[in-house]
Structures are given as structure tokens and as C-alpha cells.
Symmetry: C2
């Protein structure tokens, strides 16, 4: 029974796995399960291009015209026949001489939305469930899968523990912008009664308002007391109304936390990890396919601004160069000012301490330096949980102080990773929370002063972040970590301009198909 089963499966070959057959040698008898990409009819024979998701490249099948009935773009077929070498000089090296053609699932040519014609990126986004079948999008799915696999092994070898942090959380105040709220099923707008709506919100499924996570960092930090190094790759949400090629409302974030006292160690981790992904891609068949893929409309190319093979290779080379420069925010500002003064650059926003780094500034820096870490941003530009760059005073809240953080900027796409050392000391953390007003307690806050006799004094009400402060109250350890926008990095590596085309089912303001 087992043997029969395996035989039945092995009888079918994926297009990628088809072996070469030398001209003049016995052809192979094969069966492929595939879908029809195009059909070209000649008088005596028809040429059918087949794809099956295993590779972006098509297999050419040669059919009798009578075998072609019902075969149109999108049709699923099972074709048996002889796999043989083509005479030299033909475009393809092999072709399948069809003996038996079976239509598994038809596709009405009158209504099938994805034909061999011009499709705008925006149109393709309206049919994500069909877009993902196009050869280029199938390749993107395999690249994503490969990266997840590679990272899993990369972190495992270094003894990281992989976590599944919660998606529904109690905190809405990590300074990461707008959040989504959740509740159990609400009345529909049509049958909505005002009182019912109010009641629903007041008595939620979880008693108090809950949110979709904007970052798993805070939860990851909780594990650092016991585990030394943790990571996760999990969904993250922002309810921002940004309409840019760099933002999604739902995206996957790779986050890590490690025990360390040195920001350099966190940057080393990000740098080595990204470089290892590039190395893996370069060495894999997938990487070769990506570079050789024809960026055509039929392949599901999305956008005129997508990068071609040359540009992708340039990006990969840039990432393989080492080490990536690390400059402070102050140095970055000076570079920008120098560039303006020497007329090498013009900016809409003049670079100053208070405006921070705008996208145009980041683009200039990464354009000049290649992948670059910018470190030690002004404290006021960053969230409450970051450790000061210099901890001479335990409550160093001076206006011009900086925090031990970094943004990793890549050419063209700019910020892809953000990381920092975390404030692991109890009193400075509470002071920073007070300063940034991240808790919403109604009671007065005690125990947050340097002069308290009991350093463990309980603070009355830190709201939904009480637990996060507990991590500093009990056995705190110095640590740091980063968050990497996984879809954004993949888009950069694969040359996909708009992040909405990098994920199968993009969610953004006013759009959530399927």
C-alpha cells in the first residue's frame, strides 16, 4: 500500500525537478500537473506554456490542435507524454510531446480576470486570490517561505528560543501610532441601535479595551529574565492611514531580544542576520530565478518602479559589503548639513536636531553610504523604553540627551530595522514613562523619585504597563533588541517597489480584500 502511494506521487513531476535529457537519447515518460499560462495555435500543432509554482519558468508542451479543446489561460491540466530534448537553436532546451491531456479544472476565458494583457498594479490588487497564481507572485511566496526557513535555522543554531507572542494585547501606548481595537462581533451598521453600540463597547469580551499588537517587543522582553536570546516572526498591526509604498496595516515583523550591555552587539546581530539571508538567496536556485525572471506583465509584474536584475544584484552586493558604517545621529546631521552647504544635496526640510531625519534625509545618507546604522537619536524622538546613551546620572533627562538606539537605513527603502538597548532600571523607566505620559492611571504616581527610601516602592497605577515595569522590579537584566519589517526587507531583496505587492493579501486604509 505504502509503495503504491509513493509510486503514484512520484509519477508526477514538478517542472523544476524535470531532469535534462540529452539530444538523441531516450525521452522520458512523464506526467505534469500544471496550469496553462498561454496557448499558441499553429495549423498542425499547438504550443502550450505550463507553470506549476515550482519555478517561474514555463514548460512548453506540444499538442495536436484537437487536444487543445478547452485549454485557455488559467486552466488546470494533467498532461502525460514524452519529455525530450529540442534540437539546438530553439528557444527552449526541452519540450513535452503530449500524449494524453486531461482538463482538471477549466477557466472561462470570457470572465477569467488575469489574461495575457496589460494589468495595472492596482487592478491586480483587487484580485489578490488570483494574483498569487501569476509566476512572479508564486516566486515571491517561495522566497518568503525560504527566508522563514533560513531564519529558523539561523536562530536555532545560535540557541535562540522562538516565541509566539500574543496578538491581542492590553497596551495601546508604545508610541507606535494608531492601533486597531478588537471586540466580539458587533452589530452591523444596518441593524445598529445606538444603545446597543454603546453597550457593546462598554462590556467587551475582555472587560477592558484590547488592541492588536503594534510590536511584540514588550512581551519579548519578559522572556529575557530566564532565556538569554529570543526571537519571533509574527503579525503586527498599525491602523495608520498612510498611503505609501512602504506601509501596510498588517505586516510581519521579525523581533529579537538578547541579553547585552552593548548596542554594537544588537547591531552585529541585525547585520549578520541580514547578510546571511542574502548569502542564502545568492546561493539558491530561487535567487538565480529571481535574477533571470522576465519582468513582464504576464509574469505578474506589478509596478514600473520594480527593480530589475541589475538593480537587485547591486542591492545584494551592497548588503554583502562589510562592515556597514555606524554613525551617530549627530554625525548624520552634520553630513546632511555639509551636503547642503557644498550643494551636493537639496532638501525640502533643512536638517536640524528638531526635525529629525526625514525620508529624504535617510535616502541621501543610505545613497551615499550604502546600508548604514544611524545611532543615538535624541531622546525626545524615541519611545520611553530606550536606555540613555550615557547613564552617568540615573535620571538623565536633559533636553539634549540621546538614547542607545539605531535605525538601519538601506538605499532606496530606508528604515528596515529599528533597535535599541532597553531601559532596564526601575526608577529611570518610571520617570521616562511619566515624562512621555504613557500611563493613564488616575492615582498619583509615587515611588518614581530617586530619593525614595525603598527602591522597590510600588507605584500606584501604571495602567496597562504595570506588568512591564514589574520586569524591572524583579530581577531585571540589561538587554536590547530590534524589530525588522519582514515584508519590507523581502521587497528590497526581491526588487518589489510597493510593499502591497510583496504580500499576498495586503491590508491598508480602506482596503482589505478577501
Amino acid at each position: 500500500m505504502e509503495d503504491l502511494r509513493n509510486a503514484a506521487v512520484e509519477n508526477h513531476s514538478s517542472i523544476l525537478a524535470l531532469p535534462p535529457v540529452t539530444e538523441g537519447h531516450e525521452p522520458l515518460d512523464i506526467t505534469v500537473l500544471a496550469s496553462v499560462r498561454t496557448v499558441r495555435n499553429q495549423k498542425k500543432r499547438s504550443f502550450v506554456e505550463l507553470g506549476d509554482g515550482s519555478t517561474i519558468h514555463s514548460l512548453q508542451a506540444v499538442l495536436e490542435p484537437s487536444q487543445c479543446r478547452g485549454l485557455t489561460t488559467g486552466t488546470s491540466v494533467e498532461i502525460s507524454g514524452l519529455w525530450e530534448a529540442c534540437p539546438t537553436g530553439k528557444e527552449q532546451t526541452h519540450e513535452l510531446k503530449a500524449r494524453e491531456v486531461k482538463i482538471v479544472g477549466g477557466a472561462d476565458p470570457e470572465t477569467y480576470p488575469i489574461q495575457k494583457k496589460y494589468h495595472s498594479a492596482e487592478f491586480l490588487r483587487t484580485v489578490p486570490h488570483l494574483r498569487l497564481r501569476t509566476p512572479f507572485n508564486a516566486l515571491l511566496a517561495r522566497i518568503r517561505s525560504r527566508c522563514d526557513y533560513h531564519l529558523t535555522n539561523y536562530f536555532h543554531k545560535q540557541d535562540f528560543v522562538r516565541l509566539h507572542p500574543p496578538i491581542i494585547t492590553s497596551s495601546d501606548c508604545e508610541g507606535a501610532g494608531e492601533v486597531f481595537t478588537i471586540d466580539s462581533k458587533q452589530p452591523r451598521a444596518t441593524d445598529l441601535n445606538k444603545d446597543a453600540a454603546v453597550q457593546k463597547i462598554a462590556n467587551g469580551f475582555f472587560r477592558t479595551p484590547k488592541y492588536l499588537t503594534v510590536s511584540s517587543q514588550l512581551h519579548l522582553e519578559a522572556f529575557i529574565h530566564e532565556h538569554q536570546k529570543v526571537w519571533t516572526l509574527s503579525p503586527t498591526f498599525r491602523a495608520e492611514q498612510s498611503d505609501t509604498p512602504r506601509h501596510l496595516s498588517e505586516f510581519w515583523m521579525l523581533e529579537t531580544e538578547i541579553r547585552t550591555e552593548r548596542l554594537d552587539e544588537v547591531m552585529d546581530l541585525a547585520e549578520n542576520m541580514i547578510r546571511s539571508i542574502v548569502m542564502d538567496l545568492q546561493d539558491s536556485k530561487l535567487g538565480v530565478e529571481l535574477l533571470s525572471a522576465k519582468r513582464t506583465r504576464e509574469n505578474g509584474l506589478h509596478d514600473g518602479q520594480d527593480a530589475g536584475a541589475e538593480a537587485i544584484e547591486r542591492r545584494w552586493r551592497g548588503l554583502m559589503s562589510q562592515p556597514w558604517p555606524r554613525i551617530t545621529f549627530r554625525e548624520a546631521l552634520q553630513r546632511l548639513k555639509d551636503a547642503v552647504e557644498s550643494n551636493r544635496a537639496q532638501f525640502q526640510y533643512p536638517p536640524t536636531q528638531s526635525t529629525g531625519l526625514q525620508l529624504e534625509h535617510e535616502k541621501f545618507l543610505a545613497g551615499e553610504l550604502g546600508p548604514v546604522f544611524v545611532t543615538d537619536y535624541p531622546r525626545e524622538a524615541k519611545p520611553f523604553y530606550m536606555l540613555p546613551s550615557h547613564q552617568d546620572s540615573s535620571l538623565d533627562l536633559l533636553e539634549h540627551s540621546t538614547v542607545a538606539c539605531f535605525d538601519l537605513l538601506l538605499p532606496e527603502v530606508c528604515e528596515v530595522v529599528g533597535g535599541s538597548l532597553r531601559e532596564h532600571r526601575l526608577q529611570p523607566l518610571i520617570a521616562a514613562m511619566r515624562e512621555q505620559k504613557v500611563y493613564k492611571g488616575t492615582k498619583s504616581v509615587v515611588g518614581a523619585s530617586e530619593n525614595d527610601e525603598n527602591p522597590f516602592a510600588l507605584v500606584d497605577d501604571l495602567g496597562s504597563l504595570e506588568w512591564f515595569v514589574d520586569l524591572r522590579r524583579y530581577g531585571s537584566v540589561p538587554h536590547g533588541g530590534f524589530g525588522l519589517g519582514f515584508d519590507r526587507l523581502l521587497g528590497y531583496l526581491a526588487g518589489v517597489y510597493n510593499i502591497r505587492d510583496m504580500v499576498a493579501w495586503p491590508r491598508y486604509y480602506q482596503r482589505c480584500d478577501c
Copy 2:
């Protein structure tokens, strides 16, 4: 620089990685970063049990009483000293003679919630951010991580593509019970104005109501046209108010879809995959630790009903036996009736076709048979998307027809996997949707009849599932798959009775801490 870095890291050893030192040989000079589990003071020396997340087992450090100042349960310390063999006859084989003790982070013994004393499972759930530090919970995190790693490689070797399906979806009607709705930030109950609440719901962030996914199956199915085999491990949500040890509102589900026409092939995949996890666990240090772990309150044992080493080994042996029986629902019913008749069992609900399999029935079956697949349930008990067991008539909707599905029942915990072949034919799918009223279109449904001249005729309004029907309209292929409750399986393998204790941050009705 690089060398110095590595040296600094290697200077610290994880407890798990400490090498044995033979009695009489030179002791090793080591430094450990760990947290204090317990302190036992004697007159001349103190014994400190240390843990660091790498293993459930403690390292015993021997300190001068003067070195113990500030060392209480939960304190983070860095201790350097000599790692030497103990004289034979002592409980532990090695101990660390402390030379230097540095407190990294204190833990106020007055308020630290997790002391060496009795903690109820319910109490521990109120402090999930600290519960995860207990030795047994740290072990659970490592087992989860290991399983994710193992599965990643298991599926990769078999050419599966790993997907990241969407969490926010448009469909609320997969028959999986109550759903969570999402929207951008709502006004708080306190500052709520009725008109604002209504407005908020009417003009949502995504224009129409959106939900947290109850299963990624439908989205996974979309990939089957192009890819042959896909899988995902991702978060899933149910807004059910069930208060049982088997349910969470947020849980991770492992889901697969493969191209196949045979239900047996889907069951083979589930069976082989679970068996491979058990094999990996058995062969790993983690598995050995799990069996040797003392199930004590201090270790973070949760519940008197957790399984001990013997029971866990019995479960693993049960899963390693092969093949697991596969019986139909009809056979299952007959077995239950026979058991009642022969007085081998008593049930609250008499087993009949219409009541289906209640938990008590599942328990009995899995208790008698071990892991068992029950297949071919009555059509009316299952969701619309399942393929009929027999497809003689393309619209076989007879009352007593069954569908090609299975539930995998494990002893004690019962259903862990549910799977089926999917209805891949257009007209029968639409008919089943009509029958189960899963679409909410206002227009009349056309094209759903067997007698339509054009088999691709568009149906007016299939609501939020129009895209799912498209998959059958264009190049459909026979396929099937399953969903596995990842947390439930882990709990079974690790002997954790209540699923709320298997995940670090459990979410369930009225509870969502941190």
C-alpha cells in the same frame, strides 16, 4: 575586535552547556548569568540554586554567607568561581564555588509574587509575565520553539511552501463559531458619545466589517492552484465564551493544504507529521528533561491534573504505534452503541446520528483505540466547503450523505486535528453555500443550478466569499488539508492539562492580561 567579542561571550556559560569535571581533576573557572531560584543558609555557607532558562535543572552555587546579601528568589546574578565535581554520594554531581557575586537585578522579597510556596494555577495565570520565568514554563517555551523548528524543517524537506496568511479577514462565516471584529481605535466607554460610536462602526477603517481569522484554510486553498503543498503556523481567533481546559480565544493553528483526491493522503500527512514530532522530542535533550522534570509547585507546575512522566511516556508510545486506526463515523456510532449495550460504557448523551460525537463519546473511542481518525461525518454536522464522501451525483445533498472529512482524536484530549477533502467543484460548492446560508447577498442567486447552460455563469452576490468561489470557477484542482491546534497538541505532548497553562499569555473570555 571580533575575537574580543567572542571571548567575552564565551566566558559566560549556559548551565546546560557546563561540561562535567571528574573528581580529582582541575576545576573549571566559569561565570554564569542566572537567576536565583532558592537560597538555603547554613552557618558557614549558603547554598544557592540557580537557573538560566537553558535547562529545567538548577546549578548549585556555594557562597560565603557574606556573599548572600540581597540574594532572594528572582534576583538576577552574575557569579564567577570554580566549577568542580562533588564528592560522590551528594545529591548533585557538581557545584560552583563562588568567588565573585554580582547582583544584576534585585527582586524585593516582600512583593515578588512568585515565592517558594503554594501557588494555584489560577493565581499564576494572573502574573503571566512572571510565570514564564518558572523553570517548568521556561521548558515549555523551549519545547514550543523546538517543535516550530522541527516542523519548519519537516515541511521544507517535503517541498511545502510556508505561508503567512492574513489575520484580518473579510469572512465571518466559516462555521467556526463566534468571531472578533476589529476597527481602528474606538472611543473609550468613559468619553463615549452615542453618535460617535455609531459613526465609528458605520465608517470603519476598512469600509466594511472585518474580523480576526478563525482559520486560514480558505486563504491557503487559494495557493493550491499554483503551489502543490502549502502550510502555515499562525495565530487564530475564536470569540467563544467557553470555559474549558481545551479552549483559548487566541491560539496557534498549524494548517496545510495539498493537492490530492484521497482523504487517506491527508490523514497520512497528519499522522506522519505528529509522529515525527514525537520522535524528535524523544531523541532530544528536551524530551529527557521533560520526563525528568520534577512536577513541583516551585517549578511552576500548574495543575493537579497535569500528567506525570509515566503518563507522558504512555502518550508518546501511543502516538508512535502505527498505523492509527481509521473508522467511519457510522462505525464509531456502532462501537458506542455496542459499548452501551454490553455495559462497557455509560453516556450522558445516547450516541445517535443526530447528536453526533460528544466529548464523552470521543473520550471513550480514543480511550479504547488510542489515536484514532474518525472519518465521513454526516454532511449536516460539517461546514459547507467539504467534499461529499461519494460524488456519484454532482449535487448529492441527500439527508444521510456524508462528507470526506476526519477528526483525529487523541486519548484524554480528544480532537486535535480536523481535516477534509475540499469541495473543488463550482456548482456543488455554490449549492452547499446556499444550503448552509453562508452568503448574505441581497440579490437572487443565479447560476447555482445544475441545469445552467453555462457552467461558469456568474452568481449575483456571494458576499464576502465571492473570491473563494472564484477559486472553483478558474482552474480548480482537487485538494484537501487539515488544521491542527498547535497549543493543544503541545499540551498533550508535555502533559499540561489546561491549555491556558501551555501558552505564555492566554486569552479567553474576560481575561487578557498584559
